[in-house]
Symmetry: C4
Subunit: 240 residues, 4 copies
């Protein structure tokens, strides 16, 4: 009996297991969409009721799935404290927690409900590919993050000195200037803050020239790591 359930719940090549996985994935999608719809202001009471029913149904299904997964696991504590065990638990927890007296203060916890979407990851084997690539380039990525943070900080301090006097409302402190530095160096450029002094414009130009090079680095790191990871995969499959 336990073996039969296990062959369905855990990923296998049999048909029933695939139907089960599709059903759970569909439910995750439904629950994610229904959560998004819930945030629309001024919903009709009927819509709210339907969303409530969908929420109930999803949580019951996810709870059953969670219990089944515990039941079929070889080592129960190992599953419960595994990455996906915790995500499965967090995906249903906010619902049960919101049964209480002060519902409104607990609402922020419903944000955790989003972890439900992470379950999608479980079913995707191709993910390993990326994980390998990111692991092999871990060092370089950390160094890049450090360099980027330093560049952003220097840009913020620099622009603060150039623009603070001319635009005290936008560049009131280094922290305010940090927002400009982030939006400029990522080339997003919303246009809410930008330099107006000649010094600030020349400084922006220099920072952007350096910034383009900095942005080129992670692109290089990740793409080279990914290419290596693909090469290795093909190489391994050819050897076998």
């Amino acid at each position: 009996m336990k073996e039969k359930i296990k062959s369905i719940v855990e990923i296998n090549d049999n048909k029933k297991s695939r139907y089960f996985a599709f059903f759970i994935q569909g439910l995750i999608l439904v629950s994610v969409i229904s959560f998004s719809v819930e945030t629309i202001p001024n919903l009709k009471p009927q819509t709210k009721f339907i969303l409530q029913v969908i929420e109930w149904f999803c949580v019951i299904m996810f709870s059953l799935e969670y219990l089944l997964r515990i039941y079929v696991s070889d080592s129960k504590p190992k599953f419960i404290f595994s990455f996906f065990g915790i995500i499965d638990f967090l995906a249903i927890l906010p619902f049960y927690l919101s049964f209480g007296i002060d519902l409104r203060s607990l609402r922020a916890l419903r944000f955790l409900r989003l972890f439900r979407i992470l379950k999608l990851v479980r079913y995707n084997r191709a993910m390993n590919h990326f994980t390998t690539a990111i692991k092999s380039a871990k060092e370089e990525i950390l160094l890049f993050i450090f360099i980027t943070l330093m560049l952003i900080y220097f840009s913020a301090v620099g622009i603060y000195y150039f623009e603070n006097e001319a635009q005290p409302e936008h560049f009131s402190s280094v922290f305010d200037s940090l927002w400009w530095a982030i939006i400029t160096l990522t080339t997003v450029g919303y246009g809410d803050v930008y330099p107006i002094t000649v010094g600030g414009k020349v400084f922006t130009f220099i920072i952007l020239m350096i910034g383009l090079g900095i942005v080129a680095i992670p692109t290089g790191i990740i793409s080279s790591a990914l290419t290596k990871s693909v090469d290795k995969k093909h190489h391994d499959s050819e050897e076998n």
Copy 2:
């Protein structure tokens, strides 16, 4: 007779075939430009008349070409239901359909007329190159699209929690926040919506740092696939 027409209509190395292809390509360009000009508001009646004549001429030529292609094809149904057979048909269909009583409601269908431009693809052999590259990286591209969509969704939910209270007109629901997430993560940054709270700004920074890495992934995938495809082409041509 049929063989003679076939040698002209289908792509060959003889001169007549090349002239025919250039003529059809020129007509496609003329029809695309005349379609664009037609959308300009407050055109003079003379201009409208000239555009109408151009449209008539193009459609007659394309119709003749379509019938010739059917005539010379070895297997008629195979051509009609091939990718280019359907595009050729859709390129002339809107014109004939707009002959009717309620022309205005059918106007949206004229959008299909744009498929005419896709005919340009037929004559370009170099396209195969890209098709090979994209096919070989299909899996990775799909996974990237999935990861990107997940990142966009999480960003939208996150910013909704941070900005909803401060800017209810711009971040009224998760769906509204999705627009911000797309425009920010692609670094377009129109500047119509942007965070104003400290939490939202810090969240934007984190999301952008991750987003830069995500954008780096497809660049890596496509460029490595393309390099391999070019390498293989050169390798194959050297072997022969």
Copy 3:
């Protein structure tokens, strides 16, 4: 005598030739900066006079240099009609042409004066490196340009259908929509035009997802061509 001048004017390893090249390069820079300063509105008469003197000096020097180059060239017509012969001529032409009756109408021709800066290219050997890379990827670059133009056109037509009714002032015709398409797909995003309808926003999202992939292609093409070109250079120098 002619041989002596030739050894100075044409690029050589001797000192005099290097001094001459540095002098001409300096003059080019001076003339470029003085041209830029000239565009500043409301200049003082003294400044205008100084700029006039600089202009006269530069043109006299460039004219002398041009005549010397013709004098020392082995085949005079070959030099005159070579790429750099024409650029050298165009660099001094606007000055002589502006001596006339109707100076104002000829002003636009002064734009050609900028070609003077192209002379800088002559002295840069490392340029060959890039030229090789671009030549080897010519086909792919042309195909990319074609695909990009097609994508921009489709984007413009699509957004025209979605936004024309809601914002007739910004998306009045396909030509107006083209501006939006260019600024959005290059991720510049000035924020002067952006979609406001739900359909237009969803369409923008889809177009941007495709656009990111398209932008990844030239990056891949150029960087792989450049890498090959560098590899070949190192390989050749190792062999010798």
Copy 4:
């Protein structure tokens, strides 16, 4: 005694040296944050006092560290005039200089205090990796900077001719147009200046098409140099 201090101050594998490095790094972070907080306008007197105390403590510690580093160095003048010797000195100098009569005029020198953060670089060996990559691609990076500057200049002159008449307040001279050229070619696109004439828009399109290719070049250069540097590192470590 000197040897014992040296083993702590200079980077070693022993525990005390690591604790010392962590302590100094922590102080650098504290001093950087306290410097940023100081720029916030309208701080309370208590906060100002605390920041003053932190500043005093940091400077005393950095001064002690600087003296210790001089004491333990084999060649004193060599350390003092080394890159990090100068940075260490500049990191404490602004504090001592601001003890004077006219403090306000010396304030700009406090900008130098930021060099303190550069000390973080000392402790990061992985940095070598990037330095190697950048050194090997020095030539190409210089050429790219030259090409980019030329493209920016041409773009500025071009847009000046197209937009000067229509928007004399935004494109008043070539220097003003340079700001537009930088913000557009880096795809930041704040939206403070953008072309409004048809000619200017077409020109922007052409410049952006070229610009995308130009941006692709440094990405290619840096990522290929980085890949080579990583390959070499792995190769070297395998050989040993």
